[in-house]
């Protein structure tokens, strides 16, 4: 349109009407603001995928290299605790999804209840995780802190695990590589737990705000985006459970 006379002509001012207080000045509409925030959250989650991705790559490589060590080391994890934690986290994901639904349909009491349940389940997950961690600490399976190879060079000394798996002793050279398994175990689950802790802190803040009715008056972006974060943490755990606990139970 080369003969257009106006350079920068404005949109009509006619559609100027009252904006809700939560609409930031640089957005045209509530939809645009919510869209932008949601998209930003998705992009952030993609960076998280790559952040964990580096560790998943390392895990897959070393599992291929030191297969016997990784099998023996993974037998130190208790599938029962892992299963319980998976259930806890999946249910917390469900309560979070219900929380988002409550916010969207403006049910304040329901929202507060769902957020609280999510928080309790999240704390439960961390509690179970700490039981598992303390077991590793007792057995000196924490890399870098007087790491002990006894369970792998002499499996019969570790009677509970031996009763279940009847592992053969590993040669010293291979047994040493169990330390890499536990390094990655702690790096992966530790980073995951850190995300849980951050999530629980934000949940606390949200419960406080939800009681004041902040999310049940139409502005649900924050709850929705936090929901995405919480579900993402759940997805990471689903893979951690499979990779760390389940895939190496048989030789």
């Amino acid at each position: 349109m080369p003969d257009s006379p106006v350079i920068v002509h404005g949109a009509s001012e006619a559609d100027h009407h009252e904006h809700p207080a939560y609409l930031r000045h640089h957005f045209e509409s509530v939809e645009q603001q919510a869209d932008a925030a949601g998209f930003a959250m998705w992009l952030f989650l993609v960076t998280e995928v790559m952040f964990f991705g580096g560790m998943f790559t390392a895990y897959l490589i070393y599992r291929n290299w030191y297969y016997p060590a990784f099998v023996a080391a993974s037998h130190q994890l208790d599938v029962r605790w892992g299963t319980l934690n998976t259930l806890v986290l999946i249910i917390s994901s469900f309560t979070m999804a219900m929380g988002v639904w409550c916010a969207e349909t403006r049910r304040k009491k329901g929202l507060v209840l769902c957020l609280m349940l999510t928080m309790i389940l999240g704390l439960g997950f961390l509690g179970i995780k700490s039981i598992e961690y303390s077991e590793k600490i007792e057995k000196h399976h924490v890399p870098g802190f007087h790491y002990s190879l006894q369970s792998f060079t002499d499996p019969q000394s570790d009677s509970a695990v031996y009763a279940e798996y009847h592992d053969k002793p590993l040669p010293l050279d291979m047994a040493r590589h169990t330390e890499i398994y536990f390094s990655l175990y702690f790096a992966l689950t530790g980073m995951h737990a850190l995300h849980m802790i951050i999530g629980i802190a934000i949940l606390g803040f949200m419960i406080f705000r939800a009681q004041a009715g902040a999310y049940t008056s139409g502005h649900v972006t924050f709850v929705e985006n936090f929901g995405l974060y919480w579900h993402f943490v759940d997805v990471i755990w689903i893979y951690l459970f499979a990779l760390l606990y389940l895939i190496s139970r048989h030789q």
């Binding site: 995928v49 897959l60 999946i90 459970f241 048989h250």
Partner: protein, 108 residues
């Protein structure tokens, strides 16, 4: 009250609200999936154990992403973003692993 309903309707128009029924169904599917994968891990299937475990994990993760995270009802842009993340992650894993696997082949 009617005004509130109208507003809620307006929000619904802006984006899809998934009904709690769907969430319950997905929750049950996830719980069943967990039970299934734990059960499968107790059976010695040799080569297939890791594949089954990862397949079930992927199915569960897909359910969470599609329904709990609402990707099924979202825009193409969101789907593309998720796809880009998965694609880049697979690039990192596969091309790094390719180096490690082919190192064992020795020289030409």
């Amino acid at each position: 009250m009617s005004e509130q309903n109208e507003k809620a309707k307006h929000d619904e128009h802006a984006h899809h609200i998934v009904s709690p029924k769907v969430y319950v169904v997905i929750l049950i599917a996830l719980l069943v999936g967990t039970a299934l994968t734990v059960w499968a891990s107790f059976i010695d299937l040799g080569f297939w154990n890791p594949i089954i475990a990862l397949a079930i994990a992927t199915a569960k993760a897909t359910l969470v992403v599609l329904f709990f995270m609402g990707v099924k009802y979202s825009t193409k842009l969101t789907k593309l973003t998720v796809g880009a993340g998965i694609f880049t992650f697979l690039t990192l894993v596969s091309m790094t692993l390719a180096d490690y696997i082919s190192r064992a082949w020795g020289s030409w």
